[in-house]
Amino acid sequence: MSNFFNKSDLARKDAENIVSNTLKNCDDGELYLEDSKSESIVLDDNKIKSSNYSSDLGFGFRAVSDQVVAYSYSNEISKDSLKSSSENLQSTLKSVKGTYNNEIPKTNKKFYSDINPIEQKSLNSKIEVLNKVNDYLRKKDGSVKQVTANFLGEHKSVEIIRSGGEAITDVRPLIRFNVSVMLEKNGRKETGVYGIGGRQSYDNYLQNDNWKSVCEEAFRIASVNLDSKPAPAGEMKVVLGPGWPAILIHEAIGHGLEGDFNRKKTSAFHNLMGQKVASEGVTIVDDGTIDNRRGSLTIDDEGTPTERTVLIENGILKNFMQDRLNARLMNTRSTGSGRRENYRHVVLPRMRNTMMLSGNQTQDEMIKSVDKGIFAVSFGGGQVDITSGKFVFNCTEAYEIINGKIGSPIKGATLIGDGPSILKEVSMVGNDMMLDPGIGTCGKAGQGVPVGVAQPSILIDKMTVGGTKL
């Protein structure tokens, strides 16, 4: 754990006093301190293309009065700097008369250990793995024309000091290992990408030459796409595979259930609490408590312990995801969903690991039931318009289904749907729930945070597929 005060002219006691004085008549707020180290090592085009290390230290000071947030950050932890931030906050919140709520839930559970993944594996051995990846793929097949592989590692210490001096800390490791391969055959080029990661050391994920299976998966996706035909255009049935395709849930449902959009009534879901928003058998949770997962957090960025929040239970909308501010204004409690990219940003209610739970049907039954449709196995990114509820995501591996059988692979196409109604079109829920491999980053208001998703195979009765073949 970093000591934020030992190299500064700012003593902990001074900081506590400034925080307490500034937040005296505010409803909420805190001083958030962060020390993060990160590295990125990239192999590309047969060479170690870059090796970067970054060290970032700073604080964000927040004062909240009613619904107004005043925020100021600096990357200089000093008495002057904190004082000038305090003045800036007070100048925004000229006349405040709130009551600071000192209560914050406690936890003694931890969902990951304090390790520093960057220091735990030498640069040489990381470079060695990347070179092995390159050699392995290029020797595997003559069609391999480009290989990119990279390690991303992060070690972040945070401390939250609340009015009254209460301090809450967390140390968060995070790693990711990615392989991208481009194949060329008969004048066609296609890429395949695969990655793994989470909140453990690199070697936890690379045991038993596991890097080979990452290479194989990237290669397999690219090979499938080399034979792909133009995708169909229009409304049809869609079977989604288990695991990563749950970014559909993340985009279609997850964002619309974040507290801020519902408090502001700008989400298509704001007036649907307690109502049926999905087919029976559909249960969706957002869970920050799964050990070592990319989206897991011991505490959120306001200090609230995370939890498993039931969003939709058997088709009925049960809860929104809340940070402290939106929870207070909506007369409910924080679900431990207050997150920020780093000290430069204000807290927003965000997802952690968003999961649709298993039902009892099989993927086979789903495919057999479809006369004409597509089977989507993997996706790139997605996006949603919270207000209209329309969302999209892009297939990176998909096949046509004809008369109950999986046919040819089809080119990457965008699928588009309507968030509040899509889950009512879910007619089968599989028994094969799977977590994604640990690669997701969610963007909101210019802030990226690591997230996870999970789902079983599902059958959606009607969705628009954005191909080129009419």
């Binding site: 170690i48 619904q67 100021s72 950050y73 640069l123 255009a233 318009d385 965008t414």
Partner: protein
């Protein structure tokens, strides 16, 4: 106050000295400072104020053909010492790469033009609040508008780029950005739209009433959208979307994508990739331009590039590293385009709308549906159905798809170019795209 050049220069020189002293053969360092102040409004009340003040440092150290880099926000000398040492140690064990080097000395920028990209004016938060009040008063006038969120950001930056070949230069920039997002509701739907204005000079931003009115009108006209059937149609891209085609083009002609062989425009120099009415220019020295710069992120002088002339691809965006790989000289585009634009077409906006008896007019796309390796394009879209040049009704939940190789050849442009953004296009029509709906 934004840190002055002397402060930044002293830090840069210190870093270069440390790197040289411990044994780096070359080094390049960037020191930057930025201050920004934002005020957010929601439904005519203050919602958030946000002040940020941040220093940034990054260094590349070289030992012969080995290279490594480090960045940090902590500029205390004792921290810099530790990090530069770490960077040097990492460089030692990083493998050689024959293309690693500082840029060619004779390409470095020598004289700086005054591009008028820094306005020293400070607008305090009370004045920002006044602007946003006026804006939201207009934006929320219509009863159909149920939510407005607006913001005003003032940003000032200063930087120094220095390398061990003696280059040492930098300059201040400023930007003032105001925006409004409105939500409208009727019995059938709830819709969101926006308008914004971003300028180098405070006096140039749109007046609050005009901006608020546009945000409100653009949102209300989207209410009660319909979904249309799937068919091949001509698609008209509003200017704010049309510029996205140029951004995709810019990524596809970056020397890194070309050198890696991952662009559908590889080996297309001197080939016809657009129809012969199309010209594309990247001009770094537009006065007050949002993309204007004197040199790129390596210090190489940036000059105007004619990228596409009469439909023929003439240049890539080249940096030093990938230039060496491709046997091309850097053209000062490390970090990408500057002020990138299509030259005006010959038809007016109205004529473009009337070209086909039926077409769709797109005001927003969602999703990341551009594949620059294959050129395949497929995105979600919202907009309007246009018949005989007239807007009939709003449409949504559709996708538009094609392949850039075909789409580029079927682009027709109106003559309504202006310079609102750093990348700009006139209103654009692309014939023969696949629209997927019902």
């Amino acid at each position: 106050m934004i840190k002055d050049q002397d402060f930044l220069k002293a830090k840069a020189v210190y870093c270069l000295d440390v790197a040289k002293k411990i044994g780096a053969s070359d080094a390049s360092v960037t020191i930057g400072h930025s201050i920004s102040e934002t005020v957010n409004f929601r439904n005519k009340n203050l919602d958030e104020s946000n002040r940020s003040d941040g220093l940034a440092f990054s260094i590349d150290t070289y030992i012969g053909k080995k290279k490594s880099s480090i960045s940090s926000s902590n500029l205390l000398n004792e921290n810099l010492d530790i990090l530069i040492e770490k960077c040097y140690e990492t460089t030692k064990i990083t493998p050689d790469d024959e293309f690693n080097s500082l840029p060619d000395k004779n390409l470095l920028a020598d004289k700086l033009k005054d591009l008028n990209i820094y306005d020293n004016t400070h607008i305090d938060n009370d004045k920002k609040i006044h602007y946003l009040k006026e804006l939201e008063n207009i934006a929320s006038e219509d009863k159909k508008i149920i939510n407005t969120e607006s913001s005003f950001t003032e940003k000032k930056t200063n930087f120094i780029l220095a390398n061990s070949d003696g280059f040492c230069s930098g300059y201040k920039t400023s930007s003032f950005t105001t925006s409004c997002v409105a939500v409208a509701k009727d019995e059938n739907s709830m819709e969101r739209d926006y308008e914004y204005s971003s300028k180098r000079y405070l006096d140039d931003i749109k007046d609050p009433q005009a901006l608020g009115k546009l945000a409100s009108d653009q949102t209300i006209r989207k209410l009660s959208p319909k979904k249309i059937g799937s068919e091949k149609l001509s698609v008209i891209f509003d200017k704010r979307i049309a510029k996205g085609m140029l951004s995709a083009f810019a990524s596809a002609i970056s020397s890194s994508a070309i050198a890696r062989g991952t662009s559908f425009l590889k080996d297309k120099i001197n080939e016809q990739i657009f129809s012969n009415s199309i010209n594309i220019i990247d001009k770094p020295d537009i006065i007050k331009g949002l993309g204007s710069k004197n040199f790129d992120s390596e210090g190489v002088k940036s000059e105007t590039l004619n990228l596409v002339q009469e439909g023929v691809l003439k240049n890539y965006f080249v940096d030093s590293y990938n230039g060496k790989k491709l046997n091309l000289q850097s053209n000062g585009r490390s970090g990408g385009s500057t002020n990138l634009y299509f030259e005006n077409g010959k038809q007016s906006y109205d004529e473009l709308l009337k070209t086909n008896s039926k077409c769709i007019y797109i005001t927003e796309t969602i999703g990341h549906g551009s594949n620059l390796v294959t050129g395949d394009y497929s995105v979600g879209a919202t907009g309007f159905l246009v018949e005989d040049g007239e807007f009939k009704y709003p449409i949504n939940e559709i996708t538009i798809a094609g392949n850039f190789k075909d789409m580029f050849k079927n682009i027709f442009l109106a003559n309504d170019l202006d310079f609102e953004y750093s990348t700009n296009s006139p209103t654009m029509m692309i014939e023969g795209m696949t629209v997927a709906g019902k």
